[in-house]
Symmetry: D3
Subunit: 325 residues, 6 copies
């Protein structure tokens, strides 16, 4: 059952404490650990995955959750464009960061999967702040333990490569190949939007298409327009449980310089919001916003964009929660 407006789970108001003040939790929400007596009432959990162990080029996404929390102080409670106030209908809380092992990939994958398995067992819908894109794999291992889920991915890269640098199977360029292979994602209910950039080859795209993944390049997105493309995406994804993964490099790097593998020619911040608002109505079971890399974001604009998009994701997640009742 979905709650609503529990005072304990409301963000601290700027009328009580200015936005630049206070210990920065996500969205100024209470920070809970599993031993807290209100933990059982959490419905949506905001979680950081401060890890970039899968990064093959420019690292730094390990610092993402910290900076996203910092900028989240400037988010207010209500989405004035859509009328949704996630805090009014769902109990949200900051559940802290998963403790990764910065020098051991497999150990980190296990730690993350374990953390999200606990969330799932507690009925908490996860809203994740990455971390590099490999983070999505262990999250899916936890959430899709009962069977493959649908996946909607906003990204400039497919992340469908097989391996890297001598056969390494676990990098931020391979998570969704693994996810399909492991039966975590149903490739027939998998849509990728925004793909672009120079390429080593098109092995990733060919493999994806073979599996049934619908890959929509940026040219198609901008040519057909967001409403039309998203209508198709919703049809593919249907009513079944669907996860949303949002790589900040989907957005043009002028808007989101703070990321490891930027590709020019991407959407604006307005379009970046629009695609999320078009997810309304999907049966979302979780979402992540990944690849925000503060060392490459001198002015903080990527973090501000990222947390603003994370708020949009929270809005559609909360709608799905309410819809499931």
């Amino acid at each position: 059952m979905v709650g609503g407006g529990d005072p304990f789970f409301q963000p601290v108001s700027a009328m009580d404490l200015p936005r630049f003040a206070g210990v920065p939790t996500f969205m100024r929400l209470p920070h809970l650990t599993p031993d807290h007596d209100r933990y059982g009432d959490v419905q949506m959990g905001l979680v950081g995955v401060p890890w970039d162990g899968g990064t093959t080029n420019r690292a730094g996404a390990r610092h993402g959750p910290r900076q996203l929390r910092d900028y989240s102080s400037m988010i207010r409670a209500m989405n004035a464009a859509t009328g949704v106030n996630p805090f009014a209908s769902v109990n949200c809380a900051d559940l802290g960061d998963v403790p990764p092992n910065p020098i051991d990939i497999q150990d980190s994958l296990n730690r993350i999967a374990e953390f999200y398995t606990d969330l799932k067992n507690n009925g908490i819908v996860p809203m994740t702040a990455g971390g590099d894109h490999l983070s999505s794999l262990p999250i899916l291992r936890a959430l899709a333990s009962d069977g493959p889920v649908g996946l909607i991915q906003f990204d400039s890269h497919t992340d469908l490569f097989d391996s890297y640098f001598g056969g390494n199977k676990f990098t931020h360029g391979t998570p969704f190949r693994r996810a399909i292979e492991e039966g975590l994602v149903d490739p027939k209910r998998f849509v990728q939007i925004g793909i672009r950039g120079t390429a080593y080859n098109i092995e990733d795209v060919e493999w994806g298409i073979e599996q049934g993944v619908r890959i929509i390049r940026i040219e198609e997105l901008l040519d057909r327009g967001i409403p039309d493309v998203m209508r198709e995406a919703r049809q593919i994804l249907g009513n079944q449980p669907t996860y949303c993964t949002y790589d900040i490099d989907f957005v043009d790097p002028t808007y989101a310089p703070g990321t490891g593998t930027p590709e020019i020619g991407g959407p604006t911040s307005f379009q970046a919001q629009q695609v999320i608002r078009e997810l309304a109505g999907l049966n979302l079971i979780g979402a992540d916003l990944v690849e925000v890399s503060p060392p490459f974001d001198q002015g903080g604009g990527t973090a501000w964009l990222g947390i603003s998009l994370m708020f949009e994701l929270m809005c559609v997640l909360s709608q799905a929660l309410v819809a499931r009742g």
Copy 2:
């Protein structure tokens, strides 16, 4: 009577002094104080209001006029898009900064109102570089001393809130509520364009609508297009005296990161210019460009955008001056 081309009031040419050289006055214009013997010939006065006493979150707009003057060296004399050369038809001068009191809001409000009352008494049309948005209130107190004026506001926030943090009535979130209450602005001739961002609540919007303010959100602006929306705005504003206030946070924060309260999903710089060019024909009695905050503008791009927009405002202001004869 409007002049034209007085050599004294021309910007220093880059052919005489390179753009990076010289004491940086606004647009390389002469810097006059009231005791100067040409003061009486000034028709448009460029004024800085280096003040952010009304800022509730991230301060810094006090440094705006300084940085805008610096970047104004790169502005040349003619608007090649519209054919307007404001310096050829109107005597423009840099009238310096209003001296605010950085630690006393009411004292500052009085100092600003007094400065602009003097301008009005001298028949000088003010083009202001803020400062935070509370600066517009004392300017309106001076300009609207004879009765309410029309107002066209470009902004991502309504600034129509009632109070802040324990009932404080004078912040950069409240100036236009005060202006309506004080009879400075006719709410029936008040248009707001670009509103967006997360919200505490919609009390501001509801109050505004009740008064008759026309509030146009960003979605409507981008959906209908600028020409159509601006046509409506001009109809609402009519031929009566109208003031224009332009908050730099109207523009997307990727284009204008140097501001205290950015909201993603805004217009581009091209659109930011377009809306001003669509003001041609209005009976403008003054304008301001506010909320440029250099400490959050590491690369200086916001200042460059801001001063470029201020030049566009000067062009339509000079057209109005010429039209009034």
Copy 3:
């Protein structure tokens, strides 16, 4: 009675959670509010005062506590130079930020004084992260409610001016004049170290000397050497209760660019540590580290220096707590 090594009050170890992870409390300590059941066991409280209402030039110190918390993740538990581990002998906790009113100076002064009065009533020794230097005044109002205390001030300015800009008595240039006038500080037990920079006049210095304040300029400090000067300071301060206020602008602005009123020709970071270590043995009742202004600290170096010095202050504060038993 002083505790020691309570596991609840230990910083989160980097062996459990990497330094870049987690919600950033001061020194990775537990974040407690008065309603927490362990609140009564806190002996040293780390408190932020995110306020720069007294700043007459470049604002930004309101953002200081946020950034200091962020960088505090890199502090480990033990002072290898002095052998002190404050967490091993004293229960330390992050008590959050005082909620200031960013647009009302008197209201803010009252809120701060009230917060620290509560701390004093609970027997908690405060270690404060400012905020501008006016923050020290309400802290002293709380701590010196029973009678004047001694004061050791590291600073490049005396902050002993009478008023500013039309007679305003409460700015970050005047707190210690007020503190002496209000009987909060015993001027005979007041030492200022590091004074330098250009001056409006020497009215502040003359007034201070008249009251009995010992003012040690930077030239004297560097000429005599830190051990000799600090020996004199300890003699002046004696065994009576003493407060320490440390303005980050004491340090050379190359080391500490992130501050509003920098003055060149200051000490190095090593010397900045040394002067604190020489406070060992004093009867310290609290300390603050003020004027860290993140908007002027692009690389974060000032915050790192500031929190490193705050750790040194915690070490000597904890020694004083242990000495008092």
Copy 4:
């Protein structure tokens, strides 16, 4: 005859050496000097012109080639949007930088012309990274030694002025006036796209139109759309040899802050790519990407955009090479 896929001329793969590693040549290609035994097999030469001797305002383009090489490590081999892999059909190499004389303009013009004359004599098509826009003049002197060529220019300025500051004929505002006067460019086959910004006067535009240059302002480009405008451009340029010069200030300065003379209101990065892709089919004999100025590009975004556009230019250049057989 055009080759294809010579292993010697392939970029180093990220599978062998990570992108952040290695001595940064353009596109990770081999760096050859004329004495190398494979020099004779080069078909497209990537050349830097580290020179800003013609810059009248903000210098720094001398550092452009260095930073563009650095960011070129992130370019992969294939243009996934158009399917072109320039390295698969044409032998490409980094031929180093022309040695300019930073304090002698005429000496530098001669050195550059000489360098490109050698390239032409060796049948190497040049892809240049500037340098300021005056660099294009000596390149054209070399390439158009047999008669005037067509020119397609993306820019926010016409660079058609006559002289500067006391009659100096050689600045980055005058190269194409000189090129027409010297018979290097056929003004009837000269298209300029993207012109905007404030103007000293319109003498440049008027002179250009008189010669027959087709000048397309930004408003026309955005109003008609890129495909339509580029269709006209291709008709004007026809099948004859055509050079392409791309000033990074064509792009909006939010996307390309790192340049000396930015003008707001320009195209996005997607549009910046589109115009190049529309050059397919032209008989291109060389191209340059100029005015990238690293000192004004703190985050490196301009370099990343610039090198991404340079890759697009390489794609259409390689297509032209293949078409010529």
Copy 5:
């Protein structure tokens, strides 16, 4: 005759206008051009030379005067360390910038020499903000028109090279070779302090020593100490007219990153002040502070250091003016 305290020539007080406000002239002094009726009363003229035409590596010093003026707002009237208030005894004014020709070295040298000849003819002692070090040559041509002067140079380079890059005689590495050859500087009364850094060869040093120049490397300065070295310098310079040239790269590049040719291992800011204070008693006829290059000074610290040192130079210059009566 030296004046004193003329109200017209006092800096604007921060009690009247906050430091961040107003058109930024040097030290908030009146900005005068030769046609002003108080021009004849100026005794010390602050002049900018926004020119880097002699720079062989990283340009940017052309922007120095602009940024130095900006930061000069934070300088107050009195040197608290030495008790000197230059504004109290000498009429100081900002005389604007020399208009250089950014693309013609010889024209610029002539323009500068002419500007300073006018100053000399008006009996105005020049305090210059550069510009690169070649700026000192035309200044010396003006000031030493009657015969060679003494020279005290703080620098990490000798600037005594003969030529550069194909025999160019006029670069920022050669001014003092030219000055000796032209009879502007008496090599027997020429002291260089702070020399360091890697070297092409030692031809410059050998030539200098042959002429009689006293070259003091950084190792000698730090080993003997500033008082001892400066005592020797004063003995060499004697009572005859002496010019002081201060290259900001004398100071360690951590303190002064904003310069084109930094050399590590230099003095601190305190030492940078000390050497100037030790000039007291010399018969100074002018001074310059050169090579501040804002594009390499992201945080502004070099400008703040530079203007602080320029104030120290004004103090000793004013003492010399008073001493001459």
Copy 6:
């Protein structure tokens, strides 16, 4: 036998190509791979190790070699302080970067060891640019394959810890524990200088002392002075083969902000040079300069300091090479 002055192995002169031009190899030296016909003549090889796989906190040192090469253009040929010109007596070349595996620590360790074994087999003395400090372990595995060597380490951390985060033995905090355990370093001929910073515990120090390592904290270094401490170090190290490892975090973080684990209170750049010059006379067989992390070095100052120190290391290495004959 040591060569001298081979023209092939000289840096490109700034008289031929300005310092900002050209493909940036280390020190503008020729870039050779083993297949080059002059490879056999190389005596000192400059090598990059672009790897930070052992970094437990803030990554980024993988980008070190790239940025160090960039800044090395500003190094000239001769050490004017010591009179050493390494290029005049030893054949130096840039041997490129070791290709690390960014997502596999053991694979990377093997690749590095293999690369350096090849160097050793070719009689090439390695001068390495890191990379994090774990890079030194595989280098020592190669160089000390015949028996333990002496080690002089400049650092703020001992890097003698046993393990991290669940028993991981290979991080940048453990290399020298491993090196002693593996018999690569003779602990009796191992000196550490500059140790400071907060500590988890003192297990590292205690273990080191037990083995016989001489650990000199920063307080001792600054108290006794560099000459005295270095005399002791040279006595401990004696005439036997000695390796030098220099962590940039030895230097104060104001001078070297671009590093992952900064500790305040360190030496100046002058002192950072001095300690290297005091290595003259040691039997050095190689050196590294590690932990330069460009993402945390916005202004580039750390790279400039780092490459300047690397040049100093080259000087003493070349002296050792000459001494060995």
